[in-house]
């Protein structure tokens, strides 16, 4: 063991570094989606980022501290402003409603440094993007990044209706040959088989959208013989509300009741215990926690653990998964 400095502690990754911002613009795009733009409060420029990166936005909603990840959809080369687009979820836990209803221009908020869990594979000869609804946001930044570098891309974007087609006008007017839009209400659907069949060798496929769409694209690509390493997806889950349950933390010797509208991770953090995290959406694996004792049923919702790990009852991802039963003891 060689420690570079005395008293050094191993660094803990509890989210990325933070940036204080002021809400500089709020632009409603349609009935469901609103764009929020931010400037730094200290007047300096933002770090540049890679297309596909997200930022974790902290919201102080009364006594509740909410943290939701949103894809950065502004131009990565634009250092004055960061922008996110938020779809209102009337049945969620309230993060998007808070942004839509309570946040105003001039408010100060905290963003995290960009974190990319949905990066472009820069070896690709061509990037094929499949977007569903609000899943368009990471591609907005990736398209700008690729255009600046003369990268080759093609977008197939499925929306419910022209009224709810966020950024359709911008995409089709700037990129009439690369951006293809499909409207559900006009019975227009992506012909995925034909689309995948016609791609040149070296194409990478990216999908972001509802779970059903991601599964469909991944399965279709796998069946068509696409290498797994050429198929990329991003799906962050918002934690779902559920029945309250009690949890005991063995290492810290604390116990807490997880509220109906609170995630297990948030309840643990409320006690001052800070598990590492990056996505808070069941994808990055950082907050993986060992279960020491349990008597009840796990409600696993993450994409991180393997099926056998879910079945084993020895691990849980506290950012999105819950528990129903008598006893739950975690190694925290």
């Amino acid at each position: 063991m060689s420690a570079p400095a005395p008293n050094s502690t191993a660094p803990k990754i509890m989210g990325a570094e933070k940036i204080k911002v002021i809400v500089s613009n709020i632009v409603p795009l349609n009935d469901l989606v609103t764009r929020f733009e931010f400037k730094r409060t200290d007047g300096t420029i933002f770090p540049t980022f890679s297309g596909g990166a997200h930022t974790m936005i902290e919201m102080q909603d009364g006594d509740l501290k909410r943290m939701n990840p949103y894809s950065l959809m502004s131009d990565p080369a634009e250092r004055d402003t960061y922008a996110i687009s938020v779809r209102r979820d009337d049945h969620g836990r309230g993060g998007s409603l808070f942004l839509h209803q309570k946040v105003q221009v001039g408010d100060t908020m905290t963003l995290s440094y960009p974190v990319n869990l949905f990066s472009l594979d820069l070896r690709a000869r061509k990037h094929l993007f499949i977007a569903g609804g609000i899943g368009i946001t990471p591609f907005m930044a990736q398209i700008k990044q690729l255009n600046a570098a003369n990268g080759k891309w093609e977008l197939h974007y499925s929306c419910r209706s022209p009224e709810l087609g966020s950024y359709v006008d911008e995409l089709t007017s700037k990129h009439p040959h690369s951006a293809n839009v499909y409207y559900d209400d006009q019975k227009q659907f992506i012909d995925l088989h034909t689309l995948l069949d016609g791609q040149p060798i070296g194409t990478h496929l990216y999908v972001c959208g509802p779970k059903g769409m991601i599964d469909w694209v991944r399965k279709t690509a796998a069946a068509a013989g696409w290498p797994k390493a050429h198929v990329h997806h991003e799906e962050f889950l918002a934690p779902k509300p559920g029945k309250p349950f009690a949890v005991r933390l063995a290492k810290s010797g604390l116990a807490v009741e997880v509220g109906a509208h609170e995630s297990l991770l948030e309840a643990i953090e409320r006690l001052g215990v800070e598990p590492p995290y990056l996505c808070r959406g069941g994808a990055c694996g950082q907050c993986e926690t060992d279960v020491l004792e349990s008597d009840g049923t796990f409600i696993h919702r993450d994409h991180w653990l393997e099926d056998y790990e879910h079945a084993s009852g020895t691990k849980i991802m506290p950012c999105v998964s819950r528990f129903e039963g008598k006893t739950l003891v975690l190694d925290r």
Partner: protein, 355 residues
């Protein structure tokens, strides 16, 4: 502070030497009287004043001579610097990171003036001044990674991140501890670490990879590693083993203090913003045994570490044949007194050698 750059060599007559300042700030890597692998990471966010941890890219008295040595290695063997085609963006990321860091951390030595994409770079110690267009390779004499790493001490591995792994897809490697970029190029994290003994069994690499994959922008990390080198050679590459390997046979008890060097690597890790790649600079610090034992605590401890190191590690680090002679030399500087915890020499509180 103004740095007095040494006129020295890392080959032929080996005129390399450490000043008292360099000895005082040497990154002695052992915090206790024994050594075993660990991930031993900490944040790379500054450190004690004038220590090698203080700046993002430490510049010291060996800078100009090291860059001269790198230019010679690259002239003999251009494959020491390679970049797979998809790593160009990461090369620009690295150029930006180093130019911004050095111009902010050493304003008296380096200047960077940016007007949009029109950049103006001044490197005073090396007498370089260039105007170029950021992201336009045709405006620089080399590719961006090669350009900036010809002006920065340490080896550089630029790692692509995909499929939950890291890939050695670009780098400039001329001061390495017996590994080859040309051999490792395109390999993933487990492949290029395959030759390391003991650590795989301990699960070290799985844990280390998990940590590295989650290093984020704005939060670089660092660790130390070490090995042994006879003569102050920067280029101990497999490509040139026929030149330096035989030098291990030239050690005698009389010349060991000046010829045998402890080689310490400061390894840092930065997430690169535009490419989402990870850069892994490996900065080499050399110090002769006679300079190490000038600090009583370091002398006592080095003897105990070398004595008790498992045979596999002494073999892997390439000094098993010379270990008994090294111990004979070092034993003179170990009187058996206890040593304080931590890497610093603690000269105030440490008793002088009792023999």
């Amino acid at each position: 502070m103004t740095i007095q750059f040494n006129d020295e060599t890392f080959r032929d007559d080996y005129s390399f030497h450490n000043s008292q300042r360099a000895i005082d700030r040497f990154p002695f890597p052992f915090h206790e009287d024994s050594y075993m692998y660990s991930v031993n990471m900490e944040q790379h966010q500054g450190g004690p004043a004038d220590s090698i941890y203080e700046k993002r890219f430490d510049v010291d008295e060996h800078y100009v001579a090291e860059m001269r040595d790198r230019a010679m290695v690259l002239a003999d063997d251009p494959l020491r610097c390679q970049s797979l085609p998809h790593m160009i963006l990461a090369g620009w990321d690295l150029l930006e990171l180093i130019m911004v860091s050095k111009s902010e951390d050493y304003p008296d030595l380096f200047e960077l003036h940016r007007n949009g994409n029109k950049w103006h770079w001044i490197n005073k110690p090396m007498g370089i001044e260039d105007h170029f267009v950021f992201m336009d390779e045709t405006t620089l004499p080399y590719g961006p990674m090669e350009y900036i790493t010809r002006q920065t001490q340490g080896d550089f591995c630029v790692l692509d991140q995909r499929e939950d792994n890291l890939w050695m897809d670009a780098g400039t490697v001329t001061t390495q501890a017996d590994w080859s970029l040309d051999f490792d190029i395109g390999m993933n994290f487990f492949e290029w670490h395959a030759p390391v003994p003991l650590a795989h069994e301990k699960g070290i690499f799985k844990r280390a990879l998990k940590f590295l994959l989650s290093i984020q922008q704005g939060a670089p990390a660092r660790r130390l590693n070490w090995t042994m080198t006879v003569n102050p050679l920067l280029d101990t590459s497999p490509e040139n083993y026929h030149k330096w390997g035989v030098q291990k046979n030239t050690l005698t008890l009389e010349n060991l203090g000046s010829k045998q060097h402890l080689r310490v690597e400061l390894q840092t890790f930065f997430r690169l913003p535009r490419s989402n790649a990870l850069v892994f600079p490996i900065r080499c610090y050399l110090m002769s045994f006679q300079d190490i034992v000038s600090k009583p605590k370091w002398g006592r401890r080095l003897h105990r570490v070398v004595r008790d190191l498992p045979e596999e590690l002494a073999t892997y680090k390439g000094f098993i044949d010379n270990r008994s002679m090294m111990l004979e030399f070092l034993a003179r500087y170990d009187d058996g007194l206890p040593t304080s915890f931590g890497v610093w020499p603690d000269e105030q509180g440490t008793p002088a050698l009792q023999k």
